[in-house]
């Protein structure tokens, strides 16, 4: 039998933590789970790259009027279906220039084909200026200004080309990002509220309520997504104003979105309830509310975030698909799906492939959200390989 005071003995016996982190990086010892997660996420290259991409896309959406050189509805009848004027730094005659420039366009009407033909005029160099004065616009509804990020002082610079009315595609894509991306966010927010509360109650209460909810979720998930969306959005009254329609579409997209999240939350609730540290919290008389919000929810919050991130692409694709088919948002609303509607005609597309550029933005955004979601999931739970 050991005797006496062995406090100090114990401390010496168990100085194991020094051996666990021999590199001397002591900050990890006081790092919270969020900090550890951020460290792991930072090592995930694809996720970090996606984060940068999303940062730019969101900046584009938020500052759309500032970034776009033209008003998205301004038509240039002389410049319909104009090809992209790509910014350049090098001209064979003038050599390199630090200031980027675009070549001008000469447009004439091809009487036979009954359309405008644009040719690049390599003699006309239009230098791009930054923070130029353009059409006045209202930023965030508070600031009246006419300063735009870039533009030309004479002529026109359509870096992504124009559509059939001669509207600047770049400006339209930037404005379309606002709708397309916010639909994903609002839809995910609705899914989040529904999913967390319904899934939480289901997992927490259990029994008959849980059973009923599970059957409803199974039913909703067994209905094929696209036909359901199409049926519902085709049923929306045509005379609804654009904002009402916008929210109706978001609601339709969220009908399915919440079910996946509800399942994640429910199963987490069920497994967490038996977790030792949750039982331990109950045993020291922690209230039910404390157990849920201090011990359970923070533990699977990262899973919810990963799951939400992974469900944004579905929403964005849903909006794009519905609008592309003409039953989602409609002009004059500008969204990436609405923009792609013009690319339905193969003949038009063959002559003006730049009309597909909004599709590139959709793909870029969807991929970025997927990679980021995967990264967050891995960082949240480095030991698990199963899906969230």
């Amino acid at each position: 039998m050991s005797t006496g005071r062995d406090n100090t003995q114990h401390q010496r016996d168990e100085g194991a933590e020094e051996q666990r982190h021999p590199q001397g990086d002591r900050s990890i010892l006081v790092a919270s789970q969020w900090q550890l997660m951020w460290r792991r996420l930072k090592r995930h290259r694809l996720a970090m790259a996606s984060l940068v991409v999303l940062f730019f896309i969101y900046a584009m959406a938020i500052f759309a009027p500032f970034i776009s050189p033209y008003d998205p509805f301004e038509t240039y009848p002389q410049r319909t279906f104009a090809p992209p004027q790509i910014p350049r730094f090098y001209d064979p005659e003038a050599g390199f220039s630090i200031r980027p420039f675009v070549y001008g366009l000469t447009s004439e009407v091809d009487m036979e084909a009954r359309r405008r033909v644009h040719t690049i005029d390599y003699d006309e160099m239009l230098p791009l200026h930054f923070f130029v004065r353009g059409e006045p616009y209202n930023l965030f509804g508070i600031m009246e200004t006419d300063i735009r990020l870039f533009g030309v002082e004479e002529g026109t610079a359509f870096i992504f080309g124009t559509d059939r009315y001669g509207r600047d595609m770049f400006s339209r894509i930037a404005h379309g990002a606002r709708i397309s991306i916010s639909i994903g966010l609002i839809g995910v927010f609705i899914s989040f509220v529904l999913g967390v509360s319904i899934g939480g109650f289901s997992g927490y209460l259990g029994g008959g309520f849980d059973n009923a909810i599970q059957r409803i979720i199974e039913f909703i998930r067994s209905v094929p997504t696209l036909p359901l969306w199409m049926g519902l959005s085709a049923a929306l009254p045509l005379h609804w104003p654009p904002t009402t329609r916008y929210f109706a579409i978001v609601a339709i997209l969220s009908i399915i979105g919440w079910t996946g999240l509800a399942r994640v939350v429910r199963s987490k609730f069920l497994s967490m309830r038996e977790e030792d540290f949750v039982v331990a919290a109950r045993l020291i008389n922690a209230s039910e509310r404390r157990v849920i919000f201090v011990h359970m929810v923070p533990t699977f919050l990262s899973h919810i975030i990963a799951s939400l991130t992974l469900s944004i692409p579905g929403m964005i694709l849903g909006e794009t698909a519905l609008s592309f088919l003409g039953i989602g948002l409609r002009p004059p609303v500008v969204s990436w799906g609405v923009l792609l509607q013009q690319a339905q005609n193969v003949a038009t597309l063959a002559r003006s492939p730049w009309l597909l550029i909004p599709g590139i933005f959709v793909i870029l955004t969807v991929l970025a959200f997927n990679f980021l979601g995967d990264g967050i999931r891995d960082a949240a739970d480095p030991y698990s390989t199963e899906g969230v």
Binding site: Q9, H10, Q11, R20, V30, D276, A280, R282, L283, I284
Partner: protein, 349 residues
């Protein structure tokens, strides 16, 4: 040792805990897992009661009933508090259970899953004080540091998260949390089984020191007989929900009165390799608590099985020749079973 005049601190009477098994769309009740099936024993103040048994025999379920984490199916759990009042935990309301939990706390088996990874050591050990006494971080700081010191942790580490600690240190954190409210009785659920052998001994010593310094009583669970022997005054052997034998630790180990105890003891590693010991090898695996055989639950595996064993259930009876020694075997008096020669043989020190 325990004169019958003394009032036990904790008395379990015929405790049962069944988990219903539900199947199908309508979740019909098809069977019961009889995790704890009629357990009775008493615990006296200052005593350590050891509980051994194979995995799945209901040890954790039993103590979770005692701390009020599970509601017993039937039976009584009588707890006598410092004021001499006796309460039946099995039937106590929430308020009463919350009061009783200040006296009874539990230590978990797995030091990794029993600490919230998102809380600092300070918040983990301080949580009982926050919840029960409304003491915030600042108010509880001194007490938390004192508790850390008490369990052999450096109080300077209180801002660290559990992941910065080794298994043994984490178990100390769990012990400090359990001690925060000054309990009288600690229920330790295999507190050393997840630890390295070298650390196990330190944690056992910590338990023994705390018992002396704080006058604690323990129910100490383990599937390791040496651990139980090292720390307990009395011990009981569990087999699928039943206590099959209980006695003072030495008596139980030296002269077992149940074939299952003998089998468990024969597997204890022997300190003298030159002494040949016959190992009793049991047939089959542990019985399924959902499908218990008729008669004695142990009879399909028992090397001494008789006809009576498969028909009549043996209740826990005091052995004639050995007082304060109970066995649930029809032949406890007539069988001559082999235990350890002396306790010192396998004790750690």
């Amino acid at each position: 040792m325990s004169d019958n005049v003394r009032q036990p601190m904790l008395e379990l009477i015929n405790l049962r805990k069944y988990f219903p098994v539900k199947k199908g769309f309508f979740r019909r009740h098809v069977a019961d897992v009889k995790a704890v099936d009629g357990v009775s024993f008493s615990l006296y103040e200052g005593e350590t009661f050891g509980l051994v048994g194979e995995s799945g025999c209901g040890k954790t379920t039993l103590i979770k009933n005692i701390v009020g984490a599970l509601r017993p199916t039937s039976g009584q759990i009588l707890f006598t508090d410092a004021g001499g009042q006796t309460h039946d935990i099995a039937r106590a309301d929430r308020e009463r259970i919350e009061a009783i939990r200040r006296d009874i706390q539990m230590i978990f088996q797995d030091p990794f899953s029993s600490l919230n990874p998102r809380m600092t050591v300070q918040d983990i050990i301080g949580e009982p004080l926050l919840v029960n006494e409304g003491k915030g971080r600042r108010a509880s700081r001194a007490r938390v540091a004192e508790l850390m010191e008490l369990v052999g942790l450096n109080p300077e580490l209180l801002r660290r998260y559990p992941h910065a600690f080794s298994g043994g240190q984490r178990q100390r954190i769990g012990i400090a949390r359990a001690l925060a409210l000054d309990p009288k009785l600690l229920l330790a659920d295999e507190p050393t089984s997840a630890l390295d052998v070298s650390v196990q001994a330190q944690i056992l010593n910590l338990f023994m020191r705390l018992q002396r310094e704080l006058n604690l009583s323990y129910i100490f669970i383990s599937h390791d007989l040496t651990v139980v022997q090292h720390i307990s005054d009395r011990a009981a052997v569990m087999y699928v929900g039943h206590i099959v034998e209980t006695a003072e630790t030495e008596r139980l180990y030296v002269s077992p009165k149940h074939p299952y105890t003998e089998a468990l003891l024969s597997a204890v590693p022997y300190p003298h390799p030159d002494v040949k010991k016959k190992k009793v090898v049991l047939k089959g695996g542990a019985a399924d608590p959902q499908l218990l055989p008729a008669g004695c639950p142990f009879h399909p595996r028992c090397p001494y099985v008789e006809a009576l064993c498969s028909t009549r259930f043996p209740s826990l009876e005091e052995v004639t020749e050995s007082q304060q020694h109970w066995s649930a075997c029809h032949y406890a008096d007539s069988l001559s079973l082999r235990g350890l020669d002396t306790l010192e043989e396998s004790a750690g020190s």
